[in-house]
């Protein structure tokens, strides 16, 4: 079968010593970043990206490292959820609901082991689905013309607006800010300078990295400054308990359902781990009604569901990123930006033209997840001890890494000042309940959207009806309408509260 020869190509890339080292490093850093409250996967990937770029890693190696941080963080997030009742990242909020009660009962070890295995199962299941779906989707997407791409992005932004963030209007404003930032610089179609305000640093566009690090990492330092006093929490002891086979058998269908749901939600553009885990938790809670359920008091089903789901969604989010060039979440938007920095445009042709990148990444994720299972079962004690790193030592290191990373791109202090300014803007936006992921999505997709819109209208000679021409555009127009209507229907059912809670934190 075709798939096996592709996978063989992928593993030949993933098993190169450098890439093997990077996937282990990425997974380790990811688990660490995920477990430290406050520093989520977005920040981890953002801080490492300029370093990976400046190191001159080949694109597939850089992607393997950064992706490792991304899905590694989904493993790490649960550690502080379970032991501290503080989610390490957005995808782990639901894990606190049943994970923390378990550790309060002295079953922290059992909860950590069970959630590690659920995470592993979720990732592996989603990876298998990815291996099957991605090539099919990319073959389908090869037929997409500019009109279809315009619709695809409109659909992505609509999903984002209706499902992410506190309010659709705020999410759309975030996307628009990102899109406007993307227009700064020389217009590739006509050579005209746009919105540069006469600043030479802006002539070739606003640097993606400066925006990402400013908006996420620098604003995070402000958030930490604001809340450091509240974060002095004691770590609960692990206890000697461990997961039993009976536990695993009891949750096998929960994990299966949550994996499938997580994967599908991850594939949807714009929706990430926080929503996936909320939906899985809510669904399992309803499934379990009347069946000896103790959700919220340490039910293992309530622990397994969000963990399997958020890991599956992290994998699922890679599918549209690789096959369509449309990221499925905030962090994959950064991965997409990273690929673009290496002059690689993800999209349907990636699988044919650069199979080493696409399949190398997929193969490395198999390796990485096995490594993560090892790190998270026998080596869990190490991460638990790292949880007690004081912020007095952590924050200076974060600040240093962001400044070094940004300075190393151009060697220009201007970027540092601009980064701090964006950090202030990002912090204020966060305080007003804007999510920042839409800004990054807008920034990454802005140029592609404009180029495709202009191309579509060039083909039609200026006739806008070209946007509704052919069956694929009809389907996507309908899908966009569904994306506007569906969430308000969903919200009216029970998940409203959970979704609202999941949206409080950045994905």
């Amino acid at each position: 079968m075709d798939v096996f020869s592709h996978l063989a190509t992928g593993f030949s890339v993933a098993f190169l010593p450098l890439n093997l080292l990077l996937v282990l490093l990425g997974c380790f850093i990811g688990t660490l970043i995920g477990s430290l409250p406050g520093i989520g996967p977005i920040n981890g990937v953002a801080i490492l990206l300029p370093l990976a770029y400046a190191l001159g890693l080949p694109p597939e190696s850089a992607l393997i490292l950064l992706a490792g941080v991304y899905y590694g963080a989904e493993y790490g997030g649960r550690i502080s959820s379970i032991l501290l009742n503080v989610p390490g990242d957005a995808g782990a909020i639901m894990t606190t609901l049943d994970g923390y009660p378990l550790s309060r009962k002295g079953e922290g070890g059992r909860a950590l082991a069970l959630s590690a295995i659920s995470s592993f199962a979720g990732s592996m299941g989603a990876l298998l689905m990815m291996v099957i779906c991605a090539p099919i989707l990319s073959q389908f997407a090869v037929q997409f013309g500019p009109s279809e791409y315009v619709w695809l992005m409109v659909f992505a932004f609509t999903c984002l607006a209706t499902m992410v963030g506190s309010r659709p209007a705020k999410t759309i404003i975030g996307v628009l800010i990102g899109l406007v930032l993307a227009t700064i610089g020389i217009d590739s179609g006509s050579g005209v300078l746009r919105f540069t305000m006469g600043i030479p640093n802006f002539f070739d566009g606003v640097d993606f990295l400066v925006v990402v690090i400013g908006m996420f990492a620098i604003s995070e330092i402000f958030v930490l400054l604001e809340s450091w006093a509240r974060n002095d929490l004691g770590v609960r002891p692990l206890g000697k308990s461990f997961v039993t086979v009976a536990d695993l058998l009891a949750v096998k269908w929960v994990v299966f359902r949550s994996t499938v749901m997580g994967f599908l939600i991850g594939v949807l553009p714009g929706t990430g781990a926080s929503i996936a885990s909320a939906v899985a938790y809510g669904t399992e809670k309803r499934f379990a009604e009347g069946k000896n359920e103790h959700f919220g008091e340490g039910d293992i089903r309530g622990l397994a569901a969000p963990e399997a789901s958020n890991n599956a969604s992290a994998v699922g989010a890679m599918v549209p990123m690789l096959t369509l060039g449309i990221p499925g979440s905030g962090t994959t938007a950064i991965l997409l930006g990273a690929l673009m920095m290496f002059n690689i445009t993800p999209g349907p042709l990636l699988f044919e033209q650069r199979p080493d990148i696409a399949w190398g990444l997929i193969a490395s994720m198999f390796v990485g997840n096995i490594a993560l299972l090892v790190m998270n079962l026998p080596m869990i004690g190490l991460f638990v001890r790292l949880l007690s790193i004081r912020q007095a030592y952590l924050v200076p290191v974060i600040a240093m890494l962001t400044f070094v990373g940004i300075y190393s791109i151009h060697g220009d202090s201007f970027d540092l000042f601009f980064m701090v300014l964006l950090g202030v803007v990002g912090f204020l936006l966060r305080k007003l309940h804007f999510s920042l992921a839409p800004v990054i999505l807008g920034l990454v997709l802005g140029e592609v959207l404009e180029v495709n819109l202009r191309r579509a209208l060039s083909i039609s000679g200026g006739d806008w009806s070209v946007l509704l021409d052919g069956p694929i555009t009809y389907v996507m127009a309908i899908a966009t309408v569904v994306a506007i209507v569906a969430p308000s229907l969903m919200r009216s059912i029970k998940m409203r509260k959970l979704l609202a809670k999941a949206n409080e934190v950045e994905d």
């Binding site: 240093m400 000042f417 701090v420 209208l457």
Partner: protein
């Protein structure tokens, strides 16, 4: 309230975007849309959603106390200082100064903060330059020392 202020700023911004976009001097153009249309569309959309936000703002839920504001301002000043010092004073000195104040801001005693920042800046300087071979400024002030 804050929502309305922000929406007001965005409204002005979107006006500026549309105005500036219409001023673009396009000497030649091969396609029907050109460089103006996309920013104009974005500006119009931004106007619509800003107006929506002005009509229906969220309740304000951020009440920073004077203490928190002081902390935040201190962080801001610190980061601006870092950006200003980074190239001129060099990585080691800038990181030592800024790092120790940061560590102190997060509750460490001044002495231990300084020791930590010193160790961090020196070790990471050599890690970054020798091991990772990154472009780290050694500083124009201290160029003769290193």
């Amino acid at each position: 309230m804050y929502d309305r202020i922000l929406a007001g700023i965005l409204l002005v911004l979107s006006g500026l975007i549309v105005w500036a976009a219409l001023q673009f001097d396009v000497p030649f153009q091969y396609e029907p849309l050109g460089p103006k249309a996309f920013p104009v569309i974005l500006g119009i959309l931004l106007t619509i959603f800003s107006v929506w936000l002005i009509i229906k703002p969220d309740k304000n839920s951020w009440y920073p106390t004077a203490d928190i504001m002081k902390k935040l301002l201190a962080g801001l000043v610190l980061m601006i200082a870092y950006a200003a010092l980074f190239e001129k004073a060099g990585f080691i000195l800038a990181t030592f100064l800024v790092g120790s104040v940061f560590s102190w801001l997060f509750g460490e005693t001044p002495k231990r903060a300084a020791v930590f920042a010193l160790i961090m800046s020196v070790i990471s300087y050599f890690l970054l330059t020798l091991l990772l071979q990154l472009n780290v400024p050694s500083g124009t002030w201290l160029a003769s020392v290193f």
